[in-house]
């Protein structure tokens, strides 16, 4: 994640010290991507090394100061250029971020002994529970009636989480339907491992398919 650019962008609005930067960041993003203060200071010192920020009041201030020291940073001209480039360049899609679930499923349908139906259902339930949480946060709390720009930002971040979770559930539904069809046709994937046998009998919990016991 681009903590570096985010810090620079926040400093464009005025000089700040580490704690403030973290607070401003979380004001806009909730605690979706929690930052610890150590990370903030490490980032700031790298930015300083690269000439993108500078200390406002350098004399006497301890470089590693936290609480008491309050070293205040401001963005340099080079830093402004970097922020502007960040905002005018699209986030690259050429290298999709590693998607653990897609990788897990790709392996589950090919490795023997995995109950893919149960895997899909467990994931769907878990993702649905997260989606319920996001929705609760959206309809109550400061995202529900955003009157500050920071609250609107947080509500948009929540929307991103909602869309992501929704897309994941749709993809899981799609995988399940395709695997069922493949199992019926007896084509595509290896029999007995990939058929999502979630509806066998009249059980109330997903059961292990007989063919996938080992």
């Amino acid at each position: 994640m681009s903590i570096r650019q985010a810090m620079l962008a926040l400093l464009e609005d005025g000089p700040m010290y580490g704690y403030q930067l973290r607070a401003e960041f979380e004001q806009r993003t909730g605690s979706t991507w929690p930052l610890n203060v150590g990370q903030v200071y490490t980032t700031l010192s790298r930015l300083e090394r690269d000439g993108l920020v500078e200390q406002v009041d350098g004399e006497g201030a301890d470089h590693a100061a936290d609480e008491g020291g309050h070293v205040i940073y401001r963005v340099t001209q080079a830093g402004r250029v970097e922020v502007s480039e960040w905002f005018t360049t699209p986030v690259p899609r050429t290298q999709p971020p590693r998607d653990e679930l897609a990788i897990k499923l790709a392996l589950a349908v090919t490795v023997s002994g995995v109950d893919v139906g149960t895997l899909i259902q467990r994931q769907r339930s878990a993702t649905m529970a997260a989606l319920q949480d996001y929705t609760r946060l959206k309809r109550s709390g400061r995202a529900a009636q955003p009157d500050q720009p920071e609250d609107l930002a947080w509500s948009l971040v929540l929307d991103a989480l909602v869309f992501d979770a929704e897309a994941e559930i749709r993809w899981l539904d799609h995988c399940e339907a395709r695997l069922r069809r493949a199992a019926v046709d007896g084509s595509g994937v290896r029999r007995g491992t990939a058929a999502p046998d979630v509806a066998a009998g009249s059980t109330t919990t997903p059961t292990t398919t007989p063919g996938s016991a080992r």
């Binding site: 909730g30 605690s31 979706t32 929690p34 259902q121 467990r122 769907r124 339930s125 878990a126 649905m128 529970a129 997260a130 989606l131 319920q132 949480d133 996001y134 929705t135 609760r136 946060l137 309809r139 709390g141 400061r142 909602v162 979770a165 929704e166 559930i169 749709r170 539904d173 399940e176 339907a177 979630v198 509806a199 009998g201 009249s202 059980t203 109330t204 919990t205 997903p206």
Partner: protein, 241 residues
């Protein structure tokens, strides 16, 4: 905990017989309490509408019992079930089932009038319900002069008019754009927060997410449920704020 408003106990529904036998529901148990909104999700043909028609007393189970506020719906008889549908149960059908010869407000007022309410009072309640779904300006239009989404909102108004203890909605957001769909969810949610029990059938995860519980159906069986307890501690600080 108080008795559920809706309680399906070991409910099986078989359509047809012999070779053409279809097990639409297999021994399903299901509850919805006052103040609770429950979503039902599942692929096409998994039994969602069947569950809802049984819950609304529009169809009878092959085995098992359906109780509404403790009353066995099967034992009520046709007249009793009809009264229950006019007074305590609101139903939004997958197809909206509006009466073409009646205007929007007359459609919404109908259940109240059938229940013996004076037509002035029924109309007042109907206008309030139309207001809630945001189409009070269409009150005097006929269904065939309205868009699909507008007709759907009339159907929703009809389901929530007056004091309904149980609201059953089959894909109520189907013909609506995302914003209007969200408004409908807000309305259902508000009715449940005010004490009604709600059951919402939907294909849309983002709509199911408004519910307290999400029940997953597959081939007539409840396979899983995603609970009301927040599981995502990543958001805990925000909740505490």
């Amino acid at each position: 905990m108080s008795a559920p408003v809706l309680h399906l106990d070991g409910v099986t529904r078989i359509h047809g017989e012999g070779d053409t036998e279809v097990h639409a529901l297999r021994c399903v148990s299901f509850r919805a309490h006052a103040g609770e909104l429950v979503a039902v999700m599942g692929p096409s043909g998994s039994g969602k509408s069947t569950l809802l028609t049984l819950a609304g007393g529009l169809d009878q189970p092959t085995r098992g019992t359906v109780r509404i506020e403790g009353e066995d719906v099967g034992a009520l008889g046709n007249a009793g079930r009809a009264r229950m549908r006019r007074t305590s149960v609101g139903y939004v059908f997958q197809a909206f089932n509006l009466i073409p010869a009646l205007t929007a407000v007359e459609n919404v007022a109908l259940p109240r009038e059938l229940d013996g309410e004076k037509s002035r009072a029924a109309r007042r309640l109907a206008m309030a319900a139309l207001e809630e779904v945001g189409i009070v300006d269409l009150a005097d239009r006929f269904p065939d002069t309205m868009s699909g989404g507008q007709q759907q909102r009339v159907a929703i108004a009809r389901a929530v008019v007056g004091e309904r203890r149980l609201i059953l909605a089959d894909e109520p957001t189907g013909a609506l754009d995302t914003d209007t769909g969200e408004e409908i969810l807000r309305l259902l949610r508000a009715r449940c927060d005010a004490g009604a029990a709600g059951v919402l059938v939907t294909h849309e995860a983002r709509h199911a997410a408004w519910a307290d519980r999400v029940v997953f159906l597959r081939d007539g069986v409840v396979v899983d449920e995603s609970g009301a307890d927040p599981v995502d501690d990543l958001l805990a600080p925000e909740v505490a704020r």
